[in-house]
Symmetry: D2
Subunit: 401 residues, 4 copies
């Protein structure tokens, strides 16, 4: 089954699925269980409470769907909106594009605010639209916190400010797939109504759990939302929450224990330290890119993503060749450029359970690949820039002091 | 995390999720991978071909959704039907009930044919309805092959005969969740248009993969079906199949490798031998039930299920107490009675990767529990009956001869 | 690699190596580590303390050798004795025989006290020898607590009484390989000088750790013992204990974490409960043997072993055929008869992390095999006898009450 | 149990135990088995044949002892020599020192040829001794192929040449612990009589298997060798080899399956490619050391080890502080300086299942640590030097071309 075997570890630097910590692998290495025994509801109950912490919410209600981010999107939309509802959505890269595609196919009236790829959501346009919308025809704002295709992070606090400024009641739906547990994310403080993520991103689990968290306002909206839904219906979950059995249909026993282990690691490190680590590794990555003489696809510092860096390659190089070669020669998995930026960028994912030396190994690999494909990089330059920063900023491991 | 620890193995005899073979656990004990590298499409390509074998189809197209059986249902319905479409559906137990509930919530016009719980689908009624439907207002027949709540197996060949007899073009949709890979199932021969199963049943994997297989006629129907769908849309998959990248969104790497290992085990044993083993273990179970002086919830032999046996308890006993006690005293997980038969039956799941002595251990446990709750069972009687049969019918393990 | 694949679980009922609990497998599913980092000594320090509890000693010093029981024997002997030393040793079965063979090859002057296989150590002979030995020429008594080949448990307390009665200073060396953690064992109370076990027995770990525990008197003896030893030398360990680095050479990281998990399970269940469970399962097994009309190889009740039962088969049956067939047809692993009792007995190991229904599955399997080979067993009879007892004596699982 | 948790992977660069490939971890993630069933002998038989390949022998007989390298040493010596036998042994570092200590404690007459630490075995002295020894009082030459403490590789071919030149019949015993499977090693061609290694070194397994391979001449010697031995006695093994049951006592089931997986990986990569990879990674490491302006402990190029590099630190730095800090801040495990070179060198192990980017991550880490402890390294310099070489010399991964 390992017909593409290469010696040593695979260096996994796609922006998801990401490296799973050994502790989580161990926790998941188990047989199935009866999910109707008292054990699984007891486990679930605590998980649901603990999951709130990574959303920074106390009033939200989490749902742990056996699905992916795409399914979590669908759950967020169909539980809160009705076909024909007007929503404002920002197109800034491949994943926001896919979400908009879904919104349109689910028959919403999508008011698309497009930015150049590499830029963040145009919140000025949002402000105008909100300002103009005296009759509250806009039912929801849909925004991707972190656009994984371009490495762009949007300012969620500003969106809330705009809505508050105009006292606009639109629901505020956020894709936090490549941000939650890695970037600063504050569901309650920012008045987010639905936030969602996927297990295989910063939680560092296998794919298969789409986590959706709904504010009281979102739950209220779900009572009147007319979108057809069954598998993704919150109501079925709420009914089983009340019964204390928690699951309308079979969950993955392994992912539940995996989530337990993943949260334990995050809480042991401290969520703020986890976020600081992502900031640190991202900064180091950007310094390396700069040292290589290459450009970040993200056009302004305010949008720099701390979970993924999309690097623009010179026009005479095909970025896909970089990704291919990294995998074929150095067992390094980088992210391809997608859609509009296909061939033009490659991406370094630096999210999840990752440390400094793993990143430096990756950066050293990127340097060699760049040389392989004919880019005149100075070998060691990126690593030097990154490690100069890291050597100054990396804390001691608390458990080892 | 194992706060309900008891010494020794848990004896898992719910009708799903079932025991995972060690070989599959090993195959799944792995880090994430980039699903856009050449490795995962290569793996997927072969899996899709091999999955056809367990459906006994050569013309079908399988889809491996990151979902559960409930999601697989939704995918089967929304890809082939439009809101308002008339469908005939059989209510014979809790799982057919849930599927019908979904059908109704998805806005189909469901013509429910109800049987007493413990009986199979009333195919005479089906025949009349089909006979009368000269104008082909019936767009689909939806039937659960094996009703897990009552241990009833429906006759799928007869459904096809009825449709053929009247040359009726209705789509034929089958829930094979607790049948495929365990009971005789012939998608092509029986002209089934959509068949589906879940990974945690006879495939003996963790929950998280809903496998849907579509006939050419079903694929054709999907082109005009107006049900809203995105996550469960076959079209997105077909587009990626054509591209050779296979995945419109992130699959579970672990489940793919797990499916590979599970299929390898099934093919090594031989699918027909797997089915024969299920027949053998089921027969042994029914002999034990008889020896205990208890009744099978399934009312006629023609409907006896070879994957799950629902056992009726005397009216003075609460079957939930049996399930509770089995778990609390003997580390034995049995299935509860659901809905109409709650408190009246308990269920022994005997599907998936299981052998004779595991079953006999379970039967010995059931005997002790029956005694615990005051039923005057003769200890050893069920085991004696079951083993008399098994000792005559169990073949040598081929690899050890 | 699984070229002898059979569906379902292997039913492992040899008297070692025994079933490993899933919790232990998970704990061991890990990469290597630097054993010179602060982590491993910290782990080791606590392990050494906790290991004392299973020996019921507070004054003993445990050594965790990377070896098997055979190596542990060698360590016990060579650290305390000098070539030519007279030792009294009891020959009652294959394992005591092998230990005696080792003693002789290590050049001790072995005074062998032989009993018929199926009987315990002849302690009357010991008493005479001790009584006569006014000059204390006997340097050590070597006794196997539980002879795994015949299922005979010796009375260790009596040995101590004899020595005390005559105020004889002989060292008291005990092989507790198939007893410690399963049978009542009291190192301090019984004045045992060296006790030893292997990881793959009642501790329910993989093979690879030989645990030797030395009393202060044994440590004292090691200072003058002239037997040549290096790998098995306690002194090297003691030196590293003092340094706080604990390991004179590389330990198995996985077994250390595994031991941690194994001890955690034992302490959670409670050592006395673990022993009571062994008593219960053994009693059930003996009742089954009786019900089958077969004889226990152990000739008197006082010697009945609670970890392994050797069953005598009628002379017209070859017990090896039973073991072979159990494995080939039912995926059941039983113990062969060894040496003098080869072909005459088969053995059921009932030690380690095991519960009632696992045992009953095994007993049901043995019944079928007996029938297979032509013994006129009444199917179900053994299971009936065993479960009648177990249904009366099995406690609720404490964590589930 | 992971009380020293730090985020991300541990970077394990001690010269053993080394990183275990995931494929091997998976293969070992399994329950115990009856080692007397037909499965384990069948597995063992093939393993013994395949193990010969890594020793490059066809005439040798391998023994897979449940022990460590220290035990393998003892087995090599006690099976071939008698107390009082004169042996020539080379003291060039901590591990040769420990072996010599063992030789002396086993009562051999050890003729120690000492070199400065950092130099190889003085083969000129050997030549003189052999030349002078007309009466063949020298019974064996004992040499460590690769001294792990100083990173010195001895020239084994020369030893053979010297013996042949003088037609000296001394046995030729080689510690290949940190060489076999990583360095060029030719048991038959070089006329080695006993070669040995440990599982946790280049085989990339957990600790617990000491592999000893004996030439026909060594087997012959074992018939008359008078050293006392039981656990480590080849004879017991040979007896069971003949019986076809292979094991005189219980082996670790998990290590047997692990060895199978480890050999599969080595054979898939190709043993010569494995060795070439070690050469490549070692060369890269030495280039980094040079770029840092530091000195290799190994004094001449002819002795450079391709499995471990000992780096001399400036006198104002304590190398232990480097090792401590690497672990505490960067989750990097380096080797301490031992004995004479304690505090003076730190060691980078680059053996086993390892690739280029893993090494570069380590080198980047070492640079940061050097800076941390006050050495004026130019960050990125070592990585630059190493990757300039690697970018030119690393082949494509064959399975991915």
């Amino acid at each position: 089954m390992d017909y593409v075997y290469g010696p040593g570890r695979n260096h996994l630097f796609v922006p998801g699925p990401v490296n799973i910590p050994d502790q989580v692998l161990r926790a998941m290495n188990r047989n199935n269980e009866d999910y109707r025994s008292p054990a699984i509801p007891a486990l679930t109950k605590v998980l649901i409470e603990d999951v709130k912490k990574i959303f920074k919410t106390t009033s939200g209600t989490p749902f742990l769907f056996p699905t992916t981010g795409t399914g979590a999107w669908e759950s967020a939309l169909t539980n809160t909106l009705s076909p024909g509802d007007r929503i404002v959505s920002f197109l800034i890269g491949q994943f926001s594009l896919l979400w908009i595609d879904q919104q349109q196919r689910l028959k919403f009236n999508v008011d698309v605010v497009e930015s150049e790829w590499g830029q963040g959501a145009n919140l000025d346009v949002l402000a105008s639209k909100i300002a103009e919308d005296k009759e509250h025809t806009i039912k929801a704002i849909c925004i991707v916190h972190n656009e994984t295709a371009t490495g762009v992070t949007n300012n969620l606090a500003t969106v809330r400010k705009i809505l508050d400024h105009y006292q606009h009641p639109a629901l505020y739906l956020v894709d936090g797939v490549s941000s939650i547990c890695a970037l600063d994310f504050r569901m309650d403080e920012w008045g987010i109504d639905v936030a969602l993520t996927g297990s295989q991103k910063a939680l560092s689990l296998p794919t298969g759990m789409g986590i959706v968290c709904a504010s009281p306002k979102a739950l209220e909206a779900s009572k009147t939302a007319k979108s057809v839904r069954v598998f993704f219906d919150w109501n079925d979950y709420l009914r089983f929450y009340k019964l204390g059995t928690y699951w309308p249909y079979t969950p993955s026993i392994q992912l539940l224990y995996g989530l337990r282990a993943a949260l334990d690691l995050i809480f042991e490190e401290g969520l703020d330290n986890v976020i600081a680590r992502h900031t640190r590794l991202a900064k180091a990555t950007r310094l390396a890119v700069e040292a290589w003489g290459l450009k970040n696809c993200t056009q302004k510092e305010e949008w720099f993503s701390d979970t993924v860096t999309a690097v623009i390659v010179p026009s005479y190089i095909d970025s896909s060749e970089i990704v291919r070669r990294a995998w074929k020669r150095y067992n390094l998995s980088l992210g391809l450029g997608l859609n509009k930026v296909a061939g033009k960028v490659f991406r370094i994912g630096h999210l999840g359970n990752l440390n400094e030396l793993q990143l430096l190994g990756c950066l050293a690999g990127v340097e060699m690949v760049l040389k392989d494909v004919g880019y005149p990089v100075k070998l060691g330059s990126g690593v030097a820039a990154a490690s100069a920063y890291l050597q100054n900023s990396t804390p001691l491991i608390p458990s080892r002091i």
